[in-house]
């Protein structure tokens, strides 16, 4: 089996400071990779580098495209990368407001990607918008409401629907459950897990919440000060942490 995404020696510097360095991994189709670490450990920097939102200072990100096979996305032309960004890739922001158009209705938000790739039939666009609202457990009669009328959890689910409507193969998620209260978090995680399994998505999830990766991720990468300090299967890393920092991280979780 070919990896969907091969990351080789990604490096990003902020002046003399390290953003992240020497990060390499392979992601296979249908696999969910978790990246954990404390604030400032470079996990969001890494995610933005992979998704092409930040320019890297070295390394390659090779994506297995549908038409041309493995291509380094860091050197591909901008139109191609942006096309990838609205077809095969999706990016779920931590704050739903960053990923949604707040002045456009829920249906319009979901339909935007469809229209961006050439959808020109109103009835079909609206039907898939309603279908996706249903799949993320938002009532159909909210389709014409603006996201500003939605609760935080609903906004986040709407953002997920908007991203998944074109059937992407790779989803980048930056703290998808950050800022949500625990019961809403649980529902969102349940939903995400269902969608990931059902659609066979590959995903890279950045979070500082170990419970999120325990539920969603197959594999785990622990970062500290821009370096990867430990990788492995999620359960293995969480149950038997080897690196001192991972041990600290795991032991810091409060037991209720």
């Amino acid at each position: 089996m070919h990896p969907l995404l091969q990351v080789n020696n990604i490096r990003k510097m902020y002046g003399h400071r390290i953003g992240c360095t020497d990060v390499s991994f392979d992601l296979f189709p249908g696999e969910v990779m978790g990246i954990v670490g404390e604030s400032g450990s470079g996990k969001s920097t890494l995610l933005n580098c992979l998704a092409g939102h930040l320019e890297t200072d070295g390394g390659e990100v090779i994506f297995d495209t549908r038409d041309r096979g493995p291509v380094d996305t860091l050197t591909m032309s901008e139109p191609e990368r942006r096309m990838l960004g609205r077809t095969d890739w999706a990016f779920v922001h931590q704050h739903a407001r960053d990923g949604l158009r707040m002045s456009v209705s829920a249906g319009g938000n979901i339909g935007e990607r469809l229209m961006a790739v050439g959808g020109r039939h109103y009835g079909n666009i609206r039907a898939s918008a309603i279908d996706w609202l249903d799949r993320v457990e938002i009532e159909e009669n909210r389709v014409d409401d603006r996201p500003s009328a939605f609760s935080g959890g609903m906004q986040q689910r709407l953002q997920i629907a908007r991203n998944l409507v074109t059937g992407p193969r790779l989803v980048f998620m930056d703290e998808p459950t950050g800022g949500l209260d625990v019961s809403v978090q649980a529902r969102l995680l349940d939903l995400l897990r269902g969608l990931v399994r059902e659609m066979g998505l590959s995903a890279i999830i950045v979070t500082h919440d170990l419970a999120v990766v325990r539920l969603l991720a197959d594999r785990l990468m622990v970062m500290k000060s821009g370096h990867v300090v430990e990788t492995g299967l999620t359960d293995q890393v969480l149950d038997d942490p080897q690196h001192a920092y991972t041990q600290l991280l795991v032991s810091s979780v409060l037991q209720v």
């Binding site: 139109p79 942006r82 389709v143």
Partner: protein
């Protein structure tokens, strides 16, 4: 006359504007930045159109200026006087006789010819502006032909109003490439954008010039199941009985009385002169000047 250079602007400025116009004609629908000058009128009164007209005028030209189709409203009268004074060119109210027509918010009803130029005054040249506020981003969207967002606006129209409610400044795609704001003309005029005359668009405050060369393909954006419709008030003109012209609604009293009249005053006048009479029209051509009182 002698106090001004011909048509107010100095020759260097006109050269600069002509270069922008030529570039605009070479890339139909592309917004060419230009160094817009301060004009002796406020922004929003047609400073862009005036600069384009000034650069296009020659002493032999005949100028017509319309505002919402009318030759006799403030904006039209003052711009016409401006060029009478600074360029000394002949002016006319007849679409037929004009070689350059500066317009605000309308295309004349009469079909234009190859030897005519239509100059539009444009407030906001960027069709994507109200959807995407960042200029860097809209430029990138134009260069990469990412126009999905334009359809999001039309989607919102249909979902809120049951139809495409955008009735003016209706976005068009020019020659299969650039999406363009045709200035706030009613969408009734959109089909006329494919014409024999040269069309130039000037936005003074936003410092952009763009153009549509003669016989260029101009397509109004729409959905397959909600096709574009050129709409107008469902009446005939009450003065000249024209059923095919764009109409203004005029409130007559506070008891619901109203009349519909052609917004193109020259078209209405010429039809009445040819003997057409509408519901409220009189046999003889109306004279509204002070001598009629």
């Amino acid at each position: 006359m002698s106090e001004y250079n011909f048509a107010y602007l100095d020759e260097q400025t006109k050269r600069m504007i002509r270069r922008a116009i030529l570039k605009g004609l070479a890339i139909p629908g592309y917004q060419v930045p230009f160094a817009s000058r301060e004009m002796p009128m406020p922004y929003g009164w047609g400073t862009g159109g005036v600069q384009v007209s000034a650069a296009a005028l020659t002493p032999d030209d005949t100028l017509k200026v319309i505002d919402q189709g009318a030759d006799d409203t403030t904006n039209a009268v003052s711009i016409r006087k401006f060029f009478e004074r600074t360029a000394g060119v002949a002016t006319t109210e007849e679409t037929e006789r004009a070689s350059i027509i500066q317009t605000r918010h309308r295309i004349p009803e009469a079909a234009l010819r190859e030897d005519q130029i239509l100059v539009y005054q444009v407030p906001i040249p960027e069709p994507l502006r109200f959807l995407e506020p960042r200029e860097t981003e809209t430029r990138k969207m134009h260069s990469l032909e990412e126009y999905g967002l334009m359809h999001v606006k039309l989607y919102e129209d249909i979902s809120q109003h049951g139809q495409i409610a955008t009735s003016y400044a209706y976005p068009v795609k020019v020659e299969g490439r650039y999406v363009m704001d045709p200035s706030p003309i009613p969408k009734f005029d959109n089909p006329k954008l494919e014409m024999a005359a040269i069309q130039l668009f000037g936005a003074g405050r936003e410092q952009r010039i763009y153009a549509v060369p003669p016989y260029t393909k101009v397509v109004s954006l729409d959905f397959e199941d909600y096709p574009f419709e050129a709409t107008k008030a469902d009446h005939a003109c009450d003065l000249c009985a024209a059923a095919d012209s764009y109409l203004d609604e005029v409130i007559m009293d506070d008891a619901g009385g109203r009349m519909f009249v052609c917004s193109d005053t020259d078209y209405c006048r010429s039809r009445r002169a040819a003997g057409h009479v509408g519901r409220l029209g009189s046999e003889a051509p109306l004279s509204t000047g002070p001598e009629a009182a």
